[in-house]
Symmetry: C2
Subunit: 242 residues, 2 copies
């Protein structure tokens, strides 16, 4: 077990250094004082995504407010490997799941992509960002993944550099996931299509990009969220920070 592991862990947007005082956002203050019932003098851990992890102490607390004083640094900053998840938004709870699991599995950037068969293009980005923060708190990450605004897949591909894209392709001459993952270091992107798959036109555009690697994830049909989690797990295990 890591030192101080049992202390509550909170994301804060503030700069962090010793003796700095932090006014917690209302929601975080509510969680701290009313949900997990901490009070003045109790210790917590805080991180802001760039400055590592710090121990802090509750200096004051009201019904919907709380102030912390930062004490000492517990962990130096580290970041996850540079992995981008390009994904077509799916049903609300499945997208939430993809954000949570992707954060645990070390996605640095989430890029929602709109494809011809995307059935749920309306993604609540603010909510997704909160889900990513909550997952980062829980999974003991020191950085928080970026969630970009949704964009059409073809626009993304038109501006793409030569970063390798691993994509789960149900049709055609795909390589085994393990073998493709073994060849590809970060920076890397993983692309997961909508439930109905990509159109022939999209597949053609994709195959025209340098460094695109279609892979197969076995004989069963996987849902989009399963494919995302599975492919991220295999890459982390074979060539990532596991």
């Amino acid at each position: 077990m890591r030192e101080n592991y049992t202390l509550p862990r909170l994301y804060v947007p503030d700069d962090l250094s010793a003796d700095v005082q932090i006014e917690l956002p209302r929601e975080t203050a509510h969680y701290l004082t009313n949900v997990i019932r901490k009070s003045v003098g109790d210790s917590v851990r805080v991180f802001n995504g760039t400055s590592g992890e710090w121990r802090a102490e509750i200096a004051s607390s009201g019904k919907k407010s709380a102030t912390l004083v930062v004490a000492k640094r517990l962990r130096q900053p580290t970041a996850v490997p540079d992995v981008t998840l390009l994904f077509a938004p799916v049903r609300k709870h499945r997208t939430a799941f993809m954000i949570e699991k992707g954060t645990e599995l070390g996605v640095r950037t989430f890029q929602p992509v709109l494809t011809a068969r995307t059935q749920f293009p309306r993604l609540n980005i603010d909510k997704a960002r909160l889900q990513a923060i909550e997952a980062a708190e829980q999974t003991e990450r020191l950085d928080v993944p970026k969630i970009r605004d949704a964009k059409p897949l073809l626009d993304i591909l038109a501006a793409w550099d030569d970063t390798p894209i691993l994509f789960a392709d149900e049709a055609g001459d795909a390589e085994r996931a393990r073998e493709a993952c073994a060849k590809l270091d970060a920076p890397l992107a993983v692309l997961i299509g909508p439930e109905g798959g990509f159109t022939d036109a999209e597949r053609k555009e994709l195959r025209a990009i340098p460094n695109v690697h279609p892979v197969t994830l076995g004989p069963r049909i996987l849902r989009a969220d399963t494919a995302a989690i599975a492919l991220l797990s295999v890459w982390q295990s074979v060539n990532g920070d596991w």
Copy 2:
């Protein structure tokens, strides 16, 4: 794309052979006629878990009933590798998720285990079985995973044979998942503890079993459902049927 891939796919409990007539269960009939609006003469695919996949035609349909006549076999029976997922039940929607994803990732048997820190021991087994059937229909499996009744972990371990158990262990001298997976063929079990982890006593019992392999899934703390999906994905990719 597989032949007949776009036809609806239904699990039926009946024996399957050419010209057999099947009375669909009420719920399945409702789904077929009212949800996806199929009618007399339309084709579907059916499977019963042991006889492969068959084409069938709707012979009659009422408001809450439907009869099929089985035509010809489309696929011979195949089974997933013999993998058992031993898991401590977690919150309802996370357990549902684990059943769905485990079915897609080729779990043959789900064995719920009760551990000292299991917070949600009440698992609705009938509902879990329906979730597994629905996932099997969707993922194009020809068999349906078994879901056993929940049992205390220590009872399971006391009766365990020498089937290897891969278990996600946050503490101690664990091997990397990829390396452990590369050594272990099916039959195999994957063990995932509750959110609070195993107790020292449980860990001691576990380590005393021959052929137990503690593995690490990287530097981030994974939720129980994430760990299950990740470890199953890595094993399938490295040594399973992917």
